[in-house]
Every structure is written in structure tokens, then in C-alpha cells.
Symmetry: none
Subunit: 304 residues, 2 copies
């Protein structure tokens, strides 16, 4: 295959009219340029330049080759320009994962700001459950993903590079007419007599309830198993019981309920952004992470 550097030299010799001029342009010695041209002619098997008293004149083959060289160099310049565009975030795409409660509250804020800031970048979001997110991260279906953990089952930072986005407190949901509805904050210890509405058994918030109840010295009585936080809020609103939920899960509050802080008496979950350690990240991904953390900082009050 032809050597592009040599082609470029040929082009400059033809355009500038002499080996010396081309050598100056490339900060080479004339001798070096001469040798490269000789090799190029050997490669193509025919003379490309006619040595004349005053400089060089291309042969037919030289003409053809310089014309092709212009195209090749133009194509290479185009390639570099395109790469610069991607690095400059005028182009690119990224795919990220999230889970439902954040997909319905925090993430839309991030996406909205990111799209405003980098309108050219194609953004794909996949919402799934925890185990699927881990799998998608591992096999590369998503480049990064939002995840969560509690203090008793921390994610191992050796498996993924983890960045804490914010702490998502556990809040108490009570009916509008409940005796605690007006309180700013209550303690788990005050709730020993209550009936509870929980998510399906294996849902993590159930464990939050059991652990914090146990810490407060009682064993919760379960009145109802809900399928999602909307259903849970509806049941709370009609007085069937009270419930726990991550703060972000109830940013869209049901009109018939009140949200009360539990302070430090209930554990919070950590919201994390994860990506594979071995993955060299594209500029678009780094930019997205930065936007996401900005939004988290700006809106931290709402999730407390």
C-alpha cells in the first residue's frame, strides 16, 4: 500500500515546484525528501517527476497520483474534523440505565438539562430492575447506570466505578387526617401501634421497615401489600394504614396523604451512578455524568 506521508511530500513538491521548498515546509532536509520520492517511485514502478534544470515537473503518473493524493488528504482531514466534533460533543450518543422511582422523578430533570446543553447528542435511557441493570452494565448494553444501595448491602466498588449522586431519605406516608399528618418530623418509636402498608415481600423498602421497627423496639403489623407506590399512597389516603417510601418515590404526592420526615430514625438509600472500571468512557458519557451531578446538587433540597 502507498505511504501517505510520501504522497504528501510528492504533492508538495509538485505544488511548490521543488524538493527544497517542500523540504522547508516539512522541516526536513532536501536529502530526506529526495530519498522518500525515490522510494515512492520505486513503489509505483514508474517515474513521477521529471527532473528538470529548474525544479521538477510531474509526469502523467505524477499528475494522476497528486490528484488522488489531494482526495486522500481531504478525506483524512474530514475524518479528523468528525472526530473533533465528537470530542467537542457536537455529536455522539450514549445509553444509560435507571430504575423506576428515579426514572419518574430525578432523571427527567437531568435529561431535560442535558438535552438543552448538548442537543446534538443522542440519548437512550433504559429503565429496569436492579438485577437487570447490573447485567446490562456488565454486557455493555448500557454504558452507565443509576443504582441504589442501603448501608447493609453496599455495592462493591471493585465491581463498578461508583459515584454517589445523593442520599435518598426514607419518608413516612400518612393519611391527610392522620394524627401525625401535621408533624414536620416523627420518630419510628412513635409508630409502634400503627398498621402498615408495604410493597411486595422481597421489595427493599420492606426490609427498611423491619430493620427500623426492630431498632425502635417493635414489630410492625402489615395491613396491605401494594404493587407500587401509587397504590400504596392510595391505600394510605383511605386510612388503611401508613407506609414508608424513599423520598424520591413520592415527589408526586397523592392529594390524600402527607409526607413526614423520619429524620435519622429510618435508614436512607444511596443513589449511585455506576460504570464498568475497564470501560474508557466517551466524551458524551463524561458530560452526562457531570450534568447529572450538577442537577443532584441543585435539587438536593427536594429529596430530603
Amino acid at each position: 500500500m502507498l505511504n501517505v506521508k510520501r504522497l504528501e511530500l510528492l504533492l508538495d513538491v509538485v505544488e511548490l515546484g521543488s524538493i527544497t521548498a517542500a523540504a522547508e515546509k516539512h522541516i526536513y532536509s532536501p536529502s530526506g525528501v529526495s530519498q522518500q520520492l525515490r522510494r515512492l517511485e520505486a513503489e509505483v514502478g514508474q517515474p513521477l517527476l521529471q527532473r528538470q534544470a529548474r525544479g521538477m515537473v510531474p509526469t502523467d503518473a505524477g499528475h494522476v497520483l497528486t490528484a488522488h493524493t489531494r482526495r486522500i488528504l481531504r478525506q483524512m482531514a474530514a475524518a479528523e474534523a468528525d472526530l473533533a466534533e465528537i470530542a467537542g460533543l457536537n455529536r455522539g450518543s450514549l445509553t444509560m440505565g435507571t430504575f423506576p422511582t428515579l426514572g419518574g422523578s430525578f432523571l427527567p430533570l437531568v435529561i431535560s438539562r442535558f438535552k438543552k446543553q448538548y442537543p446534538a447528542i443522542e440519548l437512550h435511557v433504559r429503565s429496569s430492575r436492579f438485577d437487570d441493570l447490573i447485567e446490562m452494565l456488565e454486557n455493555g448494553q448500557v454504558g452507565m447506570s443509576l443504582l441504589w444501595d442501603y448501608e447493609w448491602n453496599r455495592l462493591n466498588p471493585e465491581n463498578f466505578a461508583l459515584t454517589t449522586v445523593f442520599e435518598d431519605a426514607t419518608a413516612l406516608i400518612v393519611g391527610k387526617d392522620h394524627r401525625l399528618a401535621r408533624r414536620k418530623q416523627v420518630d419510628m418509636g412513635d409508630l409502634a401501634k400503627e398498621e402498615w402498608i408495604v410493597r411486595e415481600e422481597e421489595h427493599p423498602v420492606v426490609e427498611v421497615l423491619h430493620r427500623s421497627a426492630q431498632a425502635a423496639g417493635f414489630s410492625p403489623r402489615i395491613a396491605f401489600h401494594a404493587n407500587d407506590y401509587q397504590e400504596a399512597q392510595a391505600m394510605v389516603s383511605v386510612g388503611l394504614g401508613i407506609a414508608l417510601a424513599p423520598r424520591t418515590a413520592v415527589v408526586n404526592k397523592h392529594p390524600g396523604v402527607s409526607i413526614v420526615s423520619l429524620g435519622a430514625s429510618a435508614p436512607s438509600r444511596r443513589i449511585l451512578l455506576a460504570h464498568r472500571h475497564d470501560r474508557v468512557r466517551a466524551p458524551a458519557e463524561v458530560a452526562f455524568q457531570s450534568t447529572l451531578l450538577d442537577v443532584a446538587r441543585d435539587n438536593s433540597a427536594d429529596f430530603r
Copy 2:
């Protein structure tokens, strides 16, 4: 500037799906390929490949770069092909295509003048039918070719670079004693009652007849199918019927016929010179084109 060898490696890794496969193709060690890719990524300042459990997948930048690489490599292959062609043709030869009617009238004038002007250049002419000419253009058997089209089936200028040489009017051939033999010009409308002599059914001039007859409001009655214009003229001369022909097809007029202009009442065909867009043309080809256009200009009166 990007290193083409590395680009080629990237392309092969992407296409073959693994570093090992690309290394085998190039008879390199996998380690060497891995190192080159790493350097390429360092050069462009961003990841190009995502290392995955099952092989490699290109990033956005990787996709863009491989696409450009294909073009660059294609361009370089074209350069080498052109050089090989020049080398094989002993400096300054060219091959062109034509079709019979021009090969028997216009083209000899061009060749005669060109040989006088450039005696050192070897000239090859291949005469063939339309479809073969297209194929020979595409696979490089001819560097340029004369072609023709009518207004209802124009050649696509995206496929070939086209230069109009001249318009070849459709003329009427009548016997010496025919009622219209003395006329300078007639209209298709005057020919509704005539018997026609045509070329074989799929010949384009048959379509010219049907279209212009239909435009003039009649359906032509066919008296004879001729194999070439000489035969057609002979049949016309004995009064079997009249015929249509491109003006250039009857520059060598049969003594027993008269040629009458049809003005705008019959469509003319366009005579074109075509060459491949991606072909950088040798000086000999450019010179030939220029001579050809000169001859067309000088002799335009004869083809009208």
C-alpha cells in the same frame, strides 16, 4: 495526521470482530495490533473500541472513523489502480468506447485529428452496444465512452460524469421519388398515411417512431424490419416505405434516398462523453476529450 496503517487495523478489527482475527489477517501478533490500536486511540484522544467479553464493539468515534477509513482505503486503491493502468500502457495511451453509428461517422474525424495532434499517444477504440459500454466504463476496460440518451430515459449524472457533445436530430429517410423528397422539412403530422421501415423491435429508434407518431396523432404501419441503417435505406430507396434515423446514422447517404429534416416534431438524441466520477483522468484522456469537443463544434452543421 492519522496513520493509515493503524486505521486499516482498526477497520479490520471492527469488521472481523476481534484483535486476534485482524492480527492473523495482517500476519501480526495480537499484541502488536493491540498496541497500535491503543496508540490510535491516544492520537484521536478518545476511545474507539469498547472491550467486551465477546470481542470488540466500536464507539461512536470508532464508527465514524471506520467509515472514513473505508473511503480512504478505496481512494488509495483507486490511485494504485490508475498508476497500474498508466504503467501498463506505456505512458500516454487511452482506451475509449463508442457505438456503431458514431463509430461510422463522427468518431473517425476525431481520431484523425487526435492522431495528428498527439502522435505519441496510443489510442484504442472499442465499439459496442449501450449496455456493454456502461459495463466497460464501470470495470475500467474503457476510460471514457461516447453514449447517447433520449429525453425520456436520461442518463443519471450521479453514475458518470457526463459532457454533452452535440444533439443528434432524428431525420426522415424517403425515396428519391417520394412526394416529400424535395422538401427541406416536414412535420410528423404529414406522415400518418405512410408505410414505415424500422430497425428490430427493441431498437431505440423504434420507440422514437412510436412516440413521435403518437404525438402527431397516428399509429404507424410497419412494412419491414431492417437489421441496420444501410439495409433500411436500401428498402426505402426501392419504395417499400420511409424510415426514421438519427442524423449521424445517414451521413453516408444511400444514392436512392433523400434525407428530410423533421424539425422539432421528432425527438433528438443527446450524444454524451462519459467517464467515472472517481477516476482521476490521465492527461491523454483530457486531451482527447478536448479534441473531441473541438471536432463536434467544427462539424456541428453536418449533423443537423
